[in-house]
């Protein structure tokens, strides 16, 4: 049986994803960028609500019951977002945190109304068209397939890492660990954003699958980090393979850049073992 706070946490988790994926789906760079800023604010709301749940002696989980509707226009996406934001308002408590969150939400609603005031902003959405074409570049089918697999796999992994480290960060009292978790979360936000925008360009934008508690409730921390380092190594190999397979200089350079970032994640994770 879910408590009111559990329900609020789940709705905030879903709202964070709705804002994030709206940002990925909309092509207009200004709107995309602004929405992404709001999505990071929503993630902080989620983090603060999680801390509140723990302080009250409760627990939170990452259950979800949402779908990403394949809208055809920017305004359809924005209308849906408005509805989600309005829906969650009644569930906030009456305290300082809730007041802060509500004023953020109200400003986001205002921004969405400003966007919809101009019909010029109502653009066609191609993020769900399944065309799997990389803009004006002519990639061979096997390269498109490799890119598709990589983006689907890694977008899930980045989402998983964000939530797993968030779960651990909320429970640690070790300042070093807290900082490392924050760095890793920030890095994964950037990777998820990069991969999400690429999925949208390919027309295959989709939510990462839901996390089961066996994934984020960690019983053996040391082992988890050692395994995590091995996983980062595997991600590096995947990145390198993809970089080699994609015969496009711009994309190859991007995957090399991601590859070097994974290398530093390993160094960050080693700090957690000290």
């Amino acid at each position: 049986m879910k408590t009111k706070m559990d329900k609020l946490y789940q709705e905030k988790h879903e709202l964070w994803l709705h804002i994030t994926y709206a940002s990925f789906a909309i092509e207009d760079e200004a709107i995309k960028s602004r929405l992404y800023e709001f999505s990071l604010i929503a993630f902080r709301h989620m983090k603060w609500l999680g801390s509140e749940v723990l302080e009250d002696g409760g627990n939170f989980n990452y259950d979800r019951s949402m779908q990403l509707i394949k809208h055809d226009t920017s305004f359809e996406i924005i209308h849906e977002l408005e509805e989600k934001i309005l829906h969650i308002q009644a569930n906030y408590k009456d305290n300082i945190l809730a007041q802060r969150i509500k004023t953020d939400d109200i400003y986001l609603l205002e921004y969405l109304r400003q966007v919809m005031a101009s019909e010029f902003n109502n653009q066609t959405i191609t993020a769900f068209n399944m065309k799997r074409e990389w803009m004006d570049k002519k990639l061979a089918q096997d390269q498109i397939d490799a890119l598709t697999l990589f983006l689907l796999e890694e977008s899930y992994k980045e989402y998983e890492l964000i939530l797993v480290y968030n779960y651990m960060q909320a429970r640690t009292e070790n300042a070093l660990h807290f900082n490392v978790f924050q760095d890793l979360i920030d890095e994964s936000h950037f990777h998820l954003k990069s991969f999400g925008n690429m999925m949208a360009k390919l027309g295959i934008l989709v939510l990462p699958r839901e996390l089961h508690e066996m994934t984020y409730i960690v019983k053996d921390f040391q082992r988890f980090i050692v395994d995590g380092i091995a996983e980062e190594e595997a991600a590096k190999i995947m990145c390198k393979e993809l970089s080699d397979a994609i015969k496009d200089e711009e994309l190859s350079k991007f995957f090399d850049f991601i590859n070097y970032q994974e290398s530093y994640h390993i160094e960050l994770m080693k700090k957690l073992l000290k």
């Binding site: 697999l149 689907l152 989709v206 089961h212 082992r223 395994d227």
Partner: protein, 157 residues
């Protein structure tokens, strides 16, 4: 009976659909069988939830932290066995295993972990029927995805 059994070969539209929108993914609120198959080396797991009515699989869901092959096979397999009986499910495992003989060793390991989780959920169902207080049944995998991957690398290298 199993003419329609399909395997994840390449990036067909069907495989892409299972990958992007896995069927029967998640948890069941009131299962009467829960099974987990765990690869201890990689910590990859598959968890199966079933609602069994006599021998009919009335509902089934699965979840995993595993790779895309695991997701696609789990999605296809649960889709096949939903609302079918256990005989059909066992036949489907056999048929899928036969077909997997033609695919990569890694895909076979992914299929094994899916089928083992399903078998563990049946064992949990039986154990509960026999009066055992068991939250879930756990199978530890003998073959690891990691080992198979390394073997493949060595062969290719």
């Amino acid at each position: 009976m199993f003419e329609d059994v399909k395997m994840p070969e390449g990036m067909s539209p069907e495989v892409l659909e299972h990958l992007m929108y896995p069927k029967n993914y998640g948890k069941l609120e009131t299962p009467n069988g829960v099974g987990v198959a765990l690869d201890e080396k990689t910590k990859e797991y598959v968890i199966f939830y079933i609602i069994l009515d006599e021998s009919i699989i009335k509902d089934v869901k699965f979840a995993t932290n595993g790779c895309q092959d695991t997701v696609v096979i789990g999605s296809m397999f649960t889709d096949m066995i939903m609302n079918n009986d256990l005989e059909y499910a066992n036949g489907a495992i056999q048929k899928m295993n036969d077909k997997l003989g033609n695919t990569s060793a890694q895909q076979q390991v992914c299929a094994d972990i899916v089928f083992s989780a399903f078998t563990a959920s049946l064992q949990n169902y039986k154990n509960i029927q026999n009066g055992l207080d068991e939250e879930l049944h756990l199978f530890k995998m003998k073959e690891s995805c990691e080992v198979v991957g390394e073997e493949n690398e060595n062969k290719n290298g």
